[in-house]
């Protein structure tokens, strides 16, 4: 259920704001039907989260079209105009560069970049933040970008690196397909990080946009000899700390 300021919202007025089948409507329905209580201090806070989730979906679709390549950390690459590749395969934003331009460049010049599935997740969330905050505010709020799975994150985005068991995996969440019997030759396929999209689809970097069965089939095809365990979608998710982001957005 949804509580705003301690009370259930008027669903009619919420529905009226969004078209049927929109990301916002799908998220509202999932929250409303849930056993979980989704509590917000204000309507603005709730609408902020809905917008952020919608922009997360948009950013995932954009990244899928960007020609960003898949590579392990050993072989990662980034456009040196905006990023320094660190010795561990991460990308640190160059000094003097605008964060909004550095993030946008990944989507515009994707062919100059290569990384694996975990680092693609913060790229999606930063782009969602850019779409919500707009460039000027984004540049002030996220002024020291470092992209390397969940490491050395700024505090506002740190939560996407800490998955926990959830009752609902919602659109815009980061979910994880685990491959417990992965081949020792392909540690990068020990699992697949994905952004949850509408209609039972997921975006995973390297896999593209597909349904769960295809992701599981690809992971299963990369298991060790005599494997007995199938890949599966974990019942956990991580999501940005929307309340914290909303405070940063509102100040």
């Amino acid at each position: 259920m949804i509580l705003i300021g301690g009370n259930p919202p008027s669903m009619d007025s919420l529905y009226a704001q969004f078209p049927a089948r929109s990301v916002e409507r799908l998220v509202i329905d999932a929250m409303w039907d849930s056993e979980e209580t989704y509590a917000y201090s204000s309507l603005e806070e709730f609408l902020f989260e809905l917008r952020f989730r919608k922009e997360t979906v948009n950013a995932a679709r954009e990244l899928n079209r960007s020609r960003l390549s898949f590579a392990t950390f050993h072989n990662s690459k980034a456009n040196p105009k905006y990023w320094d590749r660190t010795p561990n395969g991460g990308f640190r934003m160059k000094s003097g560069v605008k964060p909004s331009q550095a993030i946008t460049d990944i989507f515009v010049n994707g062919r100059l970049y290569a990384t694996e599935c975990a680092t693609a997740m913060p790229i999606v969330y930063y782009k969602a933040a850019l779409n919500v905050f707009r460039a000027e505010k984004f540049d002030k709020t996220f002024d020291n970008l470092y992209l390397m799975n969940w490491q050395l994150f700024d505090r506002l985005m740190m939560a996407i690196g800490t998955p926990y068991k959830v009752k609902d995996i919602l659109i815009g969440d980061r979910a994880y397909f685990r491959n417990p019997d992965v081949s020792p030759q392909t540690p990068e396929l020990q699992g697949e990080n994905v952004i949850v999209l509408p209609d039972g689809l997921y975006y995973g970097h390297g896999m593209g946009i597909s349904d769960a069965s295809r992701i599981i089939a690809v992971l299963n095809a990369n298991r060790k000899r005599n494997a007995t365990r199938s890949a599966y979608l974990m019942d956990s998710a991580s999501r940005p700390d929307y309340k914290r982001l909303f405070r940063a957005y509102s100040t």
Binding site: T86, P87, Q151, F153, P184, Q185, P187, Q190, G191, N193
Partner: protein, 330 residues
Amino acid sequence: MFFCGEFMQNGDLSKLDQIRLNDGNDKCRKFLEHTFYRNGKEAVELINDDNLSFPTFYALLPLIRVFGLARYLDKKKSIALDIINQIILPRGFYRGREYLSMKDQSVYETLLWMANTGKEEDIDNQYEHVMDVAISVLIDTYEDKDILEAVDEMIFKRNAKGRYINDLVWAFFNSKDPKTIKLLLKRLRSDNPNESQLAQKLLNIEEDIVSKENFCAEYSQWLEENGEFIYFTEESNQYASNPVLLKEDLARKYFNKGVKDYRHQPYVPLSAQEAECLAAFNALNDDDKAILSEYSKKKRDKSQAEWKDWINKPIEEQIKEALGRGEEYI
């Protein structure tokens, strides 16, 4: 088992290793090149020297390819070349034997040579990638536990240089061997803050440690006393920023049905009564499960007969007793 460092000490270094270690990769390549133009057979003999280390072999790969020497390599180096190609070539481009997918003594010996003579070097990103996969296959396919000390060294050395460690860490814990924990506890006690911080992170210890000695003693005791209920979670940095390394199987602890192999094997009830009991146990919240399983273990350690009486009571009574008399045991 020989290490490159040991070769250096006992003077068994190959000619090419001596040149590379003293004068660098370029000089070593030049030397092989000159030798090849003068006498191809001698060049092959230099490469096939039993004492040649893997890093030197790796550094010479461009020449081996250009001069078409692959077909003259001895078995170990020929397998090593195929293993490297299998790892570094894009999917679908490798057409040779899939040595990494099989279990074979010659492959095992080659991987050991690569790991033992190559562990101290970090020539380039691709070299590290090759080493990571070689280590991973040694640990997983060949269940080699002797390599763990070397992997521990590699992880901490690479981390000190800010280099990539996640795949090595994953392979290390994939051994599901408590030796990994003991090695990390040793690192945790280190005076080097970088070492102790990484050990703390890998052990997923979030609290501030007041006394490292006390902490490690308590951790080791917990490991010792609960070994048959502890398992490696298989979480990694690909999944979470602070992956949980170990968990206790509370159901097994509650039923006193431990298995000491550190892999998660959910308990399968042996009777209808146990199934009922397990369902009731699983319905409890995490705190109650922890209290009940700990109480069960302590009670059993004290008296097997009393424990049998207790475990056969309804679960509500078990909890009541555990909460009421818990301090006596917990």
